[in-house]
Symmetry: C2
Subunit: 354 residues, 2 copies
């Protein structure tokens, strides 16, 4: 795995692709899309001569199609169209396409190069950088996969105008997380962002800061052995909310679950690590205004605690959290008791007026 992955931030995606391919020694070019991005995104870059000449491979969109069978379809298309070790694949899509495409490319003939062009904010900020690739297996998310970094990632906000605001907000929650991990200045710039403005040039500059926070953490710990757990902030409680919502048959977007999970975890951080109360209040206010709240009662606590104990970052039934002493002061592998978490859930409900 290469650790100096190239990340280009631009709103001229076509020029970025030209530049990357001009420097690359390759024979055939493949472009992977899903049924959404082949319709909404591919036409926007189809005037690029490389893209026009490339072999397009399209898979069905949706997380339920992120399977080993879909990866085999990609392998088959690579075989049938003369893919060799010197070929390059460009993955154009959300996290599902970049995860599955990265896995298919990095296992075809023991690995061909791939370029990610994330088309959602969530994939730009999260899935497209960091080398995690994979597919779901038997209903388990990303059960099969590897750590394989893209040759390059082209990050732009120009495709976001096709997205509903919910999608933008979902990705923005991960940016807030990166801001909290980094420092007060970065975090405060995010809190000042106005979703209604739809100012995507400004969003690109915030996104750049945010991706660099993640890239730096990944560089220090590519295989998730320690420091990378910092990125788990908000996710132990967030995943529990997400799974619980799923079990109630009313799924919530991943980023929303993280936004709400961070309310719980910043509260825990306040209780256990001295994270400032004013920061908790301020964050909860931002979440309430922009994400609303996820409704729970005391009757849900036991189920949520069980889910947190089964999080894949937890071991031996102990809940594992990434917490903060202050914005930018990260503490990984914190444990909390059941009573701590129950108290934090009480405060979560107060803060979000539930």
């Amino acid at each position: 795995m290469e650790h100096n992955q190239r990340i280009i931030f631009t709103n001229d995606v076509s020029a970025a692709i030209d530049q990357l391919l001009a420097e690359a020694d390759f024979n055939r070019l493949f472009v992977l899309t899903d049924t959404n991005t082949s319709y909404f995104v591919l036409p926007r870059i189809a005037d690029n001569a490389h893209i026009a000449d490339a072999t397009n491979i399209t898979i069905k969109s949706g997380d339920m199609n992120k399977t080993i069978e879909a990866a085999a379809d990609v392998w088959r298309a690579l075989c049938d169209n003369g893919g060799t070790r010197k070929s390059i694949m460009i993955n154009v899509g959300g996290g599902m396409v970049t995860d599955l495409g990265g896995f298919a490319a990095s296992t075809f003939k023991r690995g061909i190069r791939f370029i990610n062009v994330p088309t959602t904010l969530l994939s730009a900020v999260d899935a497209a950088v960091g080398g995690k690739t994979g597919v779901n297996f038997r209903g388990l998310k990303n059960e099969i996969g590897g750590f394989n970094e893209a040759e390059a990632v082209v990050i732009s906000t120009c495709f976001f105008s096709t997205l509903p605001l919910t999608e933008i907000k979902s990705g923005f929650a991960e940016m807030l997380k990166h801001g909290l991990l980094k420092d007060a200045a970065t975090y405060d710039r995010l809190l000042a962002y106005d979703f209604e403005s739809r100012d995507y040039d400004h969003l690109l500059s915030l996104l750049r800061e945010s991706v660099e926070v993640k890239a730096e953490i990944v560089r220090c710990d590519p295989h998730e052995r320690g420091l990378r757990r910092a990125l788990n902030l908000g996710h132990t409680a967030g995943h529990a909310f997400e799974s619980y919502a799923m079990s109630r048959k009313s799924p919530i977007p991943h980023g929303y679950a993280v936004a709400w999970g961070m309310v719980v975890e910043l509260t825990l951080a306040n209780m256990l690590c001295g994270f400032p109360s004013a920061r908790v209040q301020e964050y909860a206010q931002f979440v309430l205004e922009n994400y609303g709240s996820f409704h729970i009662t005391c009757a849900d606590y036991d189920a949520l605690l069980t889910l947190m104990r089964h999080d894949k970052k937890s071991e031996h039934g102990e809940m594992n959290f990434t917490l903060l002493g202050d914005v930018g002061d990260v503490k990984i592998n914190c444990s909390a008791t059941d009573d701590d978490v129950r108290a934090a859930l009480d405060i979560y409900r107060d803060l979000l007026h539930i």
Copy 2:
């Protein structure tokens, strides 16, 4: 990928496993075998407490079962039996088991640790070291896979008594190749080995030297970008013989094909790089005595040349060879004309009395 893979040479496999596991922090242990090794080999290490407690996964033996479906069976068994990122899998078998098991392990939950216990000479000398993992796909060998080194490899000759001599000779051809790449002293020790003695302690010491030659080359070029092509010695012609025999419906063992391929390529080396004639004669004599010959006539040359041009190491229809100026003096990326290869095939037939 870690480049300091641990290789233990021992005829006390059980003690080596105990030692490796005593130092490893793991939760569950899995042992992968195929239908051959579960019958012939597993009972020999079943008194080891770790092995006795482990979950055994058995796949069907044979290269035709080295498929993504068999890998999925392994993933399923890992899932069903509580495999986590802290689990370890021990692959006990020939190259098919270590390749497929290495692929399944290194993609399960983005990679769990695995230990290879090769049970054939060919897998000990070749497949078990170097990080190549994979499965066949649509009839193409190792089309899907990765570069993922085993946590450790336990190499012994104690299982070889279950093998036919043909298998030993097949693996020995790769050892001869390593000797030729290394130096005259190493190579001469190999030429002096007497197969009939079945002296497996002596074989273990020769094997150790041989594996270390390969490990050193792999360390310098893990992703096969240059130097690793040295390992291709004998394989351009050898693969052509192997494929041609297959097309004639009378397959030959891989190592035999390499042994014969090296007669052709050492002849080419003599013609093009000054490799000593006496060394060619001496090698051909050893091959004739121990491997016999692969019968070809002038009428087969065109087909063989076509196969050599299509070797995956060849590009733009040029034949690519690894040749030698002398024992230990390696020259990668040599090209040869059709006439050179035809002349070498003529001499091959003379040397092997065809």
